[in-house]
């Protein structure tokens, strides 16, 4: 019996070593792109969805489809035009191929929607089956062009866990769901997970890279990255990262903002932030980029990008050629009086090779500083960088940066009075 126990122990120990060691795995796949573009036979209509908010306390969320945002003479108004989605959806929403995906405000289902020509149309909905999620507090990744994976903290501080659901994006049927096993948490001492965490799918080896904080009632000064085999949702390993306080997004995944990106080699970059030493509030932070190299199961200890003493990373988006566009909050840089709702954000390109940060200029001056840290303002499409701003001295609008030439042109404007919330590149297969 003792021998049997010893054998069992040895097997378990080996299995543990295998599944918790975070070494490199061989995988023949080369493609780093987790969200491959569809190759439709029908023509594809490309346009942008411009999301704005109207009102100060009673807020309406309005969406308008605009095919061309490059006309500086065009002023977009929503006066009795555009879709008012307030009664059904939140602005924290997943988009792909002309459709939006969300757990709507009823909080009881997964939904697929189209917002087009001033109308919100429900394409498919499915009720929760086992796992339940809170509206707009989950993260997502695409496992293939038609499989959407939703993940979040299960909400139960007495028995914390991370739940997941795989969905067929065609009709929103649930393919599989469950709770991650093998993630340790000190629940007895009041530790639980980030509300949503951030999930990214690495197609090259079939792993979901999930980042979460294991925190108690107040903020934690580190976070964890968990590698999950997407095919069976088994946990390969769970690594603590202590060089920064947290990944840039903990509660809303990337439903609204880009917090992570892949480079051309298939390395994953994660925007992170750390509370400033002189901070009067936890939200006053300085940002860094961390990297998980392709095929690796840990952060690259030799890499820390955006090594600057100031600048909280709000969004980070890859623009090609080993460069990223960062939307950075820094009231000192912008001359704003404080961190809150001031015009304290600016755009800068970060060269991932040299770590050189270059602010985007227009006519020899910095692009107007912008207000809004809960918005997505940078979009890369067809060799151009589309940058939305909520500036103080002029109407909200779009600037277009030509990636090849570095030229910047002024695009359309939004009628004064709206709060510009989101610029979304959409592609719709014309049927």
């Amino acid at each position: 019996m003792k021998k049997f126990k010893f054998l069992l122990f040895a097997v378990m120990a080996m299995l543990t070593l295998v599944f918790s060691s975070c070494g490199k795995e061989d995988n023949p796949s080369l493609s780093p792109d987790p969200e491959p573009n569809p190759e439709p036979e029908n023509p594809v209509e490309k346009y942008f969805d411009l999301w704005v908010a109207a009102g100060t306390d009673e807020v309406s969320y309005l969406v308008k489809n605009v095919p061309d945002v490059s006309d500086p003479g065009l002023v977009i108004d929503y006066k009795n035009t555009g879709a008012d989605i307030t009664a059904k959806l939140d602005e924290e929403i997943i988009f792909k191929d002309g459709y939006y995906y969300e757990i709507p405000i009823s909080g009881d289902r997964f939904g697929k929607y189209r917002i087009y020509d001033g109308k919100l149309t429900t394409i498919a909905e499915r009720p929760f089956q086992n796992n339940t999620y809170k509206t707009y507090r989950y993260t997502h990744c695409w496992l293939d062009k038609n499989t959407l994976c939703i993940m979040a903290y299960n909400g139960n501080s007495q028995a914390p866990g991370i739940i997941w659901t795989k969905l067929n994006a065609t009709d929103m049927t649930i393919i599989a769901e469950g709770q991650l096993e093998g993630v340790e948490i000190d629940a007895e001492n009041g530790f639980y997970f980030s509300t949503s965490g951030i999930a990214k799918y690495r197609e090259s080896d079939g792993y979901i890279i999930y980042m979460t904080q294991k925190k108690s009632k107040f903020w934690s000064n580190d976070f964890n990255v968990i590698f999950i085999k997407a095919s069976d949702m088994s946990v390969k390993c769970d690594i603590k990262e202590t060089r920064v306080h947290t990944m840039a997004g903990t509660a809303y995944g990337e439903l609204l903002q880009d917090k992570t990106f892949w480079d051309d080699k298939g390395n994953l970059y994660v925007a992170c932030n750390t509370e400033r030493t002189d901070a009067s509030s936890y939200t006053e932070q300085v940002g860094n980029l961390l990297r998980i190299n392709k095929g690796e199961f840990e952060f690259d200890k030799n890499y820390m990008g955006h090594n600057y003493p100031a600048g909280k990373l709000v969004t980070s988006t890859y623009m090609g050629n080993n460069k990223a566009i960062l939307y950075i909050q820094d009231p000192v840089h912008t001359g704003a009086s404080g961190w809150g709702n001031n015009y304290n954000c600016y755009f800068a390109i970060l060269d991932l090779t040299t770590d050189q940060r270059t602010e985007i200029m227009y006519n020899g001056k910095p692009l107007p500083y912008s207000q809004g840290t809960f918005a997505q303002f940078a979009v890369v499409r067809d060799g151009k960088l589309y940058l939305a701003t909520n500036p103080e001295k002029e109407a909200p609008g779009i600037y277009i940066y030509d990636i090849a030439s570095g030229n910047v042109a002024k695009g359309l404007s939004i009628q004064e009075g709206y709060a510009f919330r989101r610029l979304v590149p959409m592609e719709r297969v014309v049927e």
Binding site: A54, G55, T56, D57, E58, S60, L62, Y78, K79, N80, T81, G82, A83, D84, T86, A87, D90, I105, S106, G107, D108, G118, K119, L120, A124, E125, P127, F128, Q129, N130, N131, T132, K134, T135, N154, G155, N156, S157, Q158, A159, G161, I163, D171, Q179, G190, Y192, K217, S281, T283, N341, N342, Y343, G372, N390, E392, Q415, E416, G417, Y418, A419
Partner: protein, 792 residues
């Protein structure tokens, strides 16, 4: 402060001028008419109303000796004397010298409705005062009434938005100012002193004499820091012993019973017990709820019954005291207990379905009231109330289940309301209230009133299950001082009121968790703040047919504990809330025309402006069913409203009223300091056009002598409105709260001089899907049968 000094100056000048005018008038040939109003047994009748019929703006209320006094020029006058519970009496009298008169009123089993009373009720007199006020006599409708909200909702300018059936949450608005901008009182004391669960919907109806609804301008003697108005419930003060019992049963397994009595021992000790119990299953059908259809692979709209909406409330109170003693006109001590158990069926919209969550509250109260005329010195009337309340409420959310309208559920890892851990959230909110009021009449035409109200609210919160919840114990206290001067000029044709109010707010905050939500990092642990309010009201009567009134108040409303501290479940705290301010203006014309003894027309038309800044509103988060109160920097509401009523003898009564409100967002700038697109836009999600029509027919001696049959019909209209900003986004896809046409009918029969009363009420006759709020359906057709026994 300059404005307040200016107001004082105005009051002083006005007082000097008016006293001079009064003296000058007195200098003309005027005679004194003294009188005493008594029962047939010789007992003095206090608070009887004596009106000069030829000039009905001239009226007096009898004192504790039943005495009244007029100064009248030579002539013939008709005195009309009325008092609840007694037959109204008319008496002609010739004045050509100082005179004295004794008036004897005969008892009446129950005062009939307003159409039978030629003399003016207190409610009518209040309506004709300088203030903008709806005054409702409850007694005429007491036999059929089982919900005060329904009665209040019929009046001009008032809208009650209910979220469901019996016991559901509701929001009452007066002239567009809603929610907590409206303060509730019972006999001048905050209603919350009876417990946080006691409200208009569950208070025993039988104890109520009348309801006063003050619009915009609130008298200083209420001690209210109300922005939009106040509701004062005045309980009945019958002089004789009685027993009043009623039981009603209605649709959706609704039961309601009220018991109320007065008994005087031989030693003069008065006992007044009150009990009110409400229960409803609220299992009405929801007409179009989303239900998942596996066959169709989609959600379909179907009818389903509500299955988790039981409501139970009980209110018990015993008052013991004495009246007409040398040391006190009235002294009572009382103890009360209230309990409310409520199951929660839905979140902020009906597609958020709960099946286990509950809310419970218990409250106990002790209080003492003291009233004395000629207190310390002659003519000074003093009354005081001291009250202490233990209030304990719990929200129980311990089911890890997600329900749907089929009553099916899935097991989850989240509670139902917030989607977090299991929770039994406790709130202990002890409340101490002290009110002292002194009224001093200089003479019959001038009086001063000084009011002091102290209100202290504790807020201890903890969670029995969720150990991650931070315990706190906050204190909110305020002192409100009010001084008013009332003058009557030109033989009662003119009535002016001037007042100032001083609000002193004291706050101790200990909750520091989730500071990014509550703003606790932006407030000091202890703070004292002082605010001033002031106003004036004027009424001038050209004749009985036409009178004008105007009033103004710079009102201040301090944030309530609930707004500031949240309720821990559905209302998030916001410790940075500032008091609301509003400049409230009312202007109106009213009058009545009597064509012979049979036809009586009454009309009233009013216009109002509410210019509110730092306006506090519950901002509904569509996201997860949570709310948080916030300061909306500025809201301007303009409106007009009117009421027309016609009485034919004592057999027909018809009332028609309509209210139009235009509420605009006056936030010029967004949080970022730039212009807001919705500036001056019509505010979304609020009713703006609504009205009522009511017809009552009365038949007497139908079966036997002394019986009475009332057949009534009520129609209520509410125009549809948008959930979100009307001007932005395509109108096709916008969500609306649809137009409501609600038809109700009532048949009420009383016999043996109203000793026995039976009524049958049918609400929503045509079984329409009615909504006051977006996707929160109210009950369909319902019946309610009520029996009432009244013995005196």
């Amino acid at each position: 402060m300059k404005r307040i000094l200016l107001l004082f100056l105005l009051m002083s000048i006005s007082a000097t001028v008016s006293v001079t005018a009064s003296v000058a008038q007195t200098g003309r040939a005027k005679y004194s008419l003294n009188g005493i109003v008594q029962t047939e047994g010789g007992e003095a009748l206090q608070t009887a109303i004596v009106t000069i019929k030829e000039n009905n703006t001239l009226w007096k209320e009898t004192d504790r000796n039943g005495a009244f006094e007029f100064k009248l020029a030579k002539g013939t006058y008709t005195l009309v004397v009325s008092l609840t519970g007694y037959r109204t009496l008319e008496k002609k009298i010739r004045i050509d010298a100082d005179s004295r008169i004794n008036i004897i009123l005969a008892e009446q089993a129950e005062n009939l409705d307003a159409v039978t009373v030629v003399g003016k009720s207190k409610a009518q007199l209040l309506k004709e005062s300088a203030l903008s006020v709806n005054a409702l006599n409850i007694r005429p409708v007491i036999n059929s009434t089982h919900n005060i909200n329904a009665i209040v909702n019929k009046t001009t300018g008032v809208r009650v938005r209910e979220t469901g059936g019996v016991g559901s949450d509701f929001e009452l608005s007066i002239n567009g100012m809603s929610g907590n901008s409206v303060r509730y009182f019972i006999d001048g004391v905050p209603l919350s002193s009876k417990g946080s669960g006691v409200n208009l919907a569950n208070l025993p109806v039988n104890i109520i004499d009348r309801i006063e609804i003050y619009k915009g301008v609130v008298p200083a003697y209420l001690g209210a820091d109300a922005l939009g108005g106040a509701i004062n419930i005045v309980t009945k003060e019958d002089k004789s012993n009685y027993l009043d019992f009623s039981y009603g049963y209605g649709s959706f397994q609704t039961h309601k019973t009220d018991f109320n009595a007065r008994y005087v021992t031989k030693g003069g000790l008065i006992f007044k017990p009150t009990v009110g119990v409400n229960y409803s299953k609220n299992d009405y059908k929801m007409k179009s709820v989303e239900v998942w259809s596996e066959e169709e692979g989609n959600y379909v709209y179907q009818e389903r019954k509500r299955f988790h909406d039981d409501y139970f409330s009980v209110f018990g109170q015993l008052e013991v005291g004495v009246t007409n003693k040398k040391w006190s006109d009235a002294f009572f001590v009382s103890a009360s207990y209230s309990k409310v158990d409520k199951e929660l069926q839905t979140g902020s919209i009906q597609s958020i379905v709960y099946g286990e969550a509950e809310r419970k509250s218990d409250a106990g109260n002790i209080s003492a009231t003291y009233r004395k005329k000629d207190f310390i010195f002659d003519k000074l009337q003093f009354n005081a109330v001291a009250s202490y309340t233990w209030d304990h409420s719990r929200t129980i959310d311990t089911a890890f289940r997600k329900y749907d309208w089929n009553r099916n559920y899935i097991l989850t890892t989240r509670n139902e309301i917030t989607g977090d851990s299991k929770s039994i959230r406790h709130y202990k909110r002890p409340r101490a209230v002290v009110r002292a009021n002194a009224d001093y009449p200089i003479n019959g035409n001038h009086s001063f009133n000084l009011n002091y109200l102290f209100n202290r609210l504790g807020n201890e919160r903890y969670d029995q299950v969720d150990k991650s919840f931070t315990k706190t114990n906050d204190v909110l206290a305020n002192h409100i001082l009010g001084l008013s001067y009332n003058q009557i000029l030109f033989d009662g044709k003119m009535n002016n009121v001037f007042f100032v109010k001083d609000y002193i707010d004291y706050l101790v905050v200990r909750q520091r968790d989730e500071y990014w939500v509550s703003g606790s990092d932006k407030v000091d642990e202890k703070s004292v703040k002082v605010y001033w309010g002031y106003g004036a009201a004027l009424r001038y009567s050209l004749s009985e047919e036409i009178s004008f009134k105007a009033s103004y108040e710079h009102s201040v409303r301090l944030p309530l504990g609930n707004e500031l501290l949240g309720n821990g479940i559905t209302v998030l705290p916001n410790l940075t809330l500032k008091p609301e301010n509003s400049e409230n203006f009312n202007i109106g014309v009213f009058g009545s025309a009597r064509i012979s003894d049979k036809h009586l027309f009454n009309y009233e038309a009013d216009g109002f402006i509410r210019d509110a800044s730092d306006y506090i509103r519950a901002v509904l988060s569509e996201r997860d069913g949570l709310m948080q109160y916030e300061n909306v920097s500025s809201v301007k509401i303009k409106g007009i409203e009117g009421e027309l009523s016609y009485n034919y003898s004592d057999i027909l009564k018809f009332i028609l009223n309509c209210s139009y409100q235009d509420a605009r967002d006056m936030n010029k700038y967004k949080e970022d300091g730039k212009a807001s697109i919705t500036y001056k836009n019509k505010l979304p999600n609020r009713p703006w056009l609504f009205g009522n029509a009511e017809l009552d027919l009365y038949f007497r001696n139908v079966v036997g002598r002394g019986d009475r049959l009332r057949v009534g019909y009520h129609y209520q209209y509410m125009h549809w409105f948008y959930l979100t900003w009307e001007a932005y986004g395509s109108l096709d896809g916008k969500s609306k709260i649809p137009t409501q046409h609600q038809h109700n009918a009532v048949v009420s029969y009383s016999w043996k001089n109203e000793r026995y009363n039976l009524s049958l009420e049918c609400n929503n006759i045509f079984d329409k899907a009615l909504y006051d709020n977006f996707m929160l359906q109210k009950p369909g057709r319902s019946l309610f049968l009520k029996f009432r026994l009244f013995i005196n």
